[in-house]
Amino acid sequence: MERITPLLWLLFSAGGTVAALLFPVHFFLTGLAFPLGWLEAPSYEFLHRLLTHLVTRLYLFILISLPLFHWAHRFRYTLYDGLQLKHLTVLIAVLCYGAALVGTAMTAYLLWDIS
């Protein structure tokens, strides 16, 4: 675990940057503007067409998986320091990074399979 800490930190930083630069606009559109009708949501066909491009799939992979690793690393330390759960440190690490890996795998699987 110790030897890959630099890698985990790099993933955390990359994920944080992706989340900071791209999440506000995506979240504003998908979570607020489209459901509330302020702007018209893109149609299924349009999005499906976008997904056929390799660039879109790479973009979405980065957009979903990196922030998950950002959360995993940050949340792990928050639980460790904030709630002083030192005795559960291995379990917390496994759960956090494990969840991020599962999310990444699911994203990769879905993006691979687009007809």
Binding site: A19, F23, F27, G31, L32, P35, A41, Y44, L47, T78
Partner: protein, 138 residues
């Protein structure tokens, strides 16, 4: 002095205060720090929502319509508003910390903090505009 003093012969009895589990509530800046760290939960929340949207898109138009409908429910609108505010808080605190974490030297001199900050916000604007342009093109 009512107590009879007794001296430990070789080592003084040091006093070590135990750190309370509520340490983060004891100072405003500590609480702000924990809130900043908790933004990661809402970042993960949105990543999962986007993963869910991706799954709906691969399952067909009905699934996508169901996804869109679910997002218009009051529960999700409330969740999304709170989460969006936390994601904004993440973005702002992240940009503010970037000049401290990344020192760029150009021609021997350190690039000033306000410039790094400005470049970050500029990138934010440009990328947001590009994403909005792509998604609203229809």
């Amino acid at each position: 002095m009512s107590a009879e003093p007794h001296y430990t012969l070789y080592h003084p009895r040091w006093y070590r205060r135990r750190v309370s589990v509520w340490w983060w509530l004891q100072k405003r800046s500590y609480t702000g720090f924990v809130l900043r760290e908790l933004t990661s939960v809402f970042v993960a929340f949105f990543a999962v929502v986007y993963l869910w949207q991706l799954r709906a898109l691969t399952q067909g138009p009905e699934a996508y319509e169901q996804f869109l409908a679910r997002l218009t429910t009051p529960l999700f609108l409330a969740l999304d508003t709170v989460a969006f505010l936390f994601v904004l808080f993440h973005a702002i605190t992240w940009f503010n910390l970037t000049p401290k974490a990344m020192v760029v030297r150009w021609r021997g001199k350190r690039v000033p903090d306000w410039l790094i900050l400005g470049l970050n916000y500029a990138a934010w604007l440009v990328l947001s505009g590009a994403v909005a342009f792509v998604l609203l093109r229809e």
